[in-house]
């Protein structure tokens, strides 16, 4: 897409000169965009700045503007619960992304073998993505309830010593988040990979087959390397979902037991809205933003570079 091909601008083009209401027509596109631009400047950039300013104050119940420098950040760093939440995010995010990628890729490759009823299977794998994380959380809470869910079911089959009580185990609760989130998002990764696989050039595969390469080898050496851009997009989307995860935690574990399965998103909400620690909550929100930017900037950079080359 080259910008120069669209260089004819309405204000100087022949069209606008001949149109009936000349100057107004030239301004109309900008007028139409103006509210959205104003909204973005105010509600996105302005609010980000505002939150940053709040994070420098000692606001508690209500915003106050007594500046305390980076004291809130220091408090955050000294806060045990924040460290639990951050560590959980690394654990949860890492596992969530890795398992979604592996499962999505596996299912996509298997589905790509001319499967009967491929459409139906694809639909099944993907439907969780249509649900709210709240619904997902509620359902998995029921499935993982040791007294009633999967544990009870397997015990009912005669395995009396079967244990699957992660939901109430402080050391394991964060992994229940992984299970539910993988259930919800892996079908979507499968769809991304499947589209990528369908886009791989057949002639390369034919050539590899003629060389006598085995199917797994072809996938490992030829196909999967072609999917690198898809992997990149998927990682970016999934980590974005992980950082924003709030509803799932609220519905599935409530952050508990205690705050063992807290994530930064729930930490922020709890401190800003229920614990009257607006300054601290703002500081945690800014760090979340930092996390998103750390993922986003390399992604955008490579996107732009590819575009320039392609």
């Amino acid at each position: 897409m080259s910008l120069s091909s669209y260089a004819a601008q309405p204000a100087t083009g022949p069209g606008s000169r001949r149109s009936r209401s000349g100057p107004l027509q030239a301004w109309l596109p900008k007028l139409v965009l103006a509210p959205s631009v104003a909204i973005s400047l105010c509600f996105v950039y302005g609010f980000m700045l505002w939150t940053f300013i709040l994070s420098l104050t000692n606001s508690r119940m209500l915003p106050s503007y007594d500046f305390v420098g980076f004291a809130q950040y220091a408090r955050l760093m000294a806060n045990d619960r924040w460290w639990v939440a951050s560590t959980n995010l690394v654990l949860f995010g890492g596992l969530f992304v890795a398992i979604c990628l592996a499962l999505g890729l596996l299912l996509a490759i298997l589905l790509d073998q001319r499967i009967r009823q491929e459409g139906a299977l694809r639909t099944l794998y993907l439907y969780p993505m249509a649900l709210s994380f709240i619904v997902t959380g509620v359902v998995w809470k029921w499935l993982l309830n040791p007294g009633l869910g999967i544990q009870a079911m397997v015990r009912g089959w005669g395995f009396e010593n079967f244990r699957f009580d992660w939901l109430v185990d402080p050391d394991m609760a964060v992994y229940t988040l992984v299970i539910a989130a993988v259930w919800q998002a892996s079908g979507f990764v499968m769809a991304l990979f499947l589209a990528g696989l369908r886009g791989v050039d057949d002639s390369i595969l034919k050539a590899a087959q003629l060389d006598g390469a085995s199917l797994p080898r072809i996938y490992w050496r030829v196909v999967i390397p072609c999917l690198r851009p898809v992997v990149f997009s998927a990682v970016m989307i999934l980590s974005h979902i992980a950082i924003k995860s709030f509803d799932l935690v609220v519905a599935l574990t409530g952050g508990g037991p205690g705050y063992a399965s807290d994530l930064p998103a729930t930490f922020m909400y709890a401190h800003a809205f229920t614990r009257a620690q607006i300054g601290l909550g703002s500081a945690s929100a800014m760090l979340m933003l930092g996390g998103v930017l750390a993922i986003l900037i390399p992604y955008l950079y490579s996107e732009l570079r590819n575009r320039r080359h392609g």
Binding site: P29, S40, R114, Y127, V135, A195, Q209, V250, A251
Partner: protein, 292 residues
Amino acid sequence: MDNVIRRRTVGARLARAALYAVLLLAALFYLLPLAVMLITSLKPLAEITPGTLLSLPREPTLAPWAKAWGEACTGMRCEGVGVYFFNSIAIVVPAVLISTIIGALNGYALTKWRFKGSELVFALMLFGCFIPFQVVLLPMAQTLGWLGLSSSRAGLILVHVVFGIAFTTLFFRNFYVAVPTELVSAAKLDGAGFFRIFWRILLPVSAPIIVVSVIWQFTQIWNDFLFGVAFSAHDTQPVTVALNNLVNTSTGVREYNVDMAAAMIAALPTLIVYVLAGKYFVRGLTAGSVKG
């Protein structure tokens, strides 16, 4: 791709059987929660504790659904999730319509009436797709207060429109880039104005992207919890918030069948959209997600 195992040897047949086995196992993993949700929602409470997850209801009943809809207690009040279902509708419909219309006009202006800095304007707006919403929650709460929209449906509509525009603009912009600019240039030469060109040339070809935008926005807003819980009062809660309150009420006996029925009620609209328009749903998901 043409790399299927062709020869019908015993090994190949076994491989094929294993392939289907794995795929079906995966299908069970994805289906299990929905199946359990549905089965449980049709059981009388007496069958739940002694039974197991997947045992079919012996005396199927719709009573849990009726209770979830009209009587179940969410927090303090006991009026079911039905009221909140309609709250969600009252929020979703205007928010989807407004954000889609604005997105369409933005996308059109950004592609067919480029001006100096229009790419910058687009980049500026696109950023709204990426931010973690936690970073705008507190200022938003205060702003809604100033506008007199705290805890109101109108306030939630505003929030969803404001943070939806980035996505809808992205959709329409990427779609309109591919519409031949010659058509627009010719119309400009004929003296057609900004809105006339939009109405006559762009809108008639926009059906697919309108569907994508509407489905994306519908799903996002219907499934939203964060804004709902932060900016609504009891009367104006969306159904996701009500569902969470219902399930986390600590009083009385846990009625899992009612919980599951309520979860189904909250999930049905987006599930129906997915079943009816899955193709567009996926397109929106990839278009919206690849960039945000």
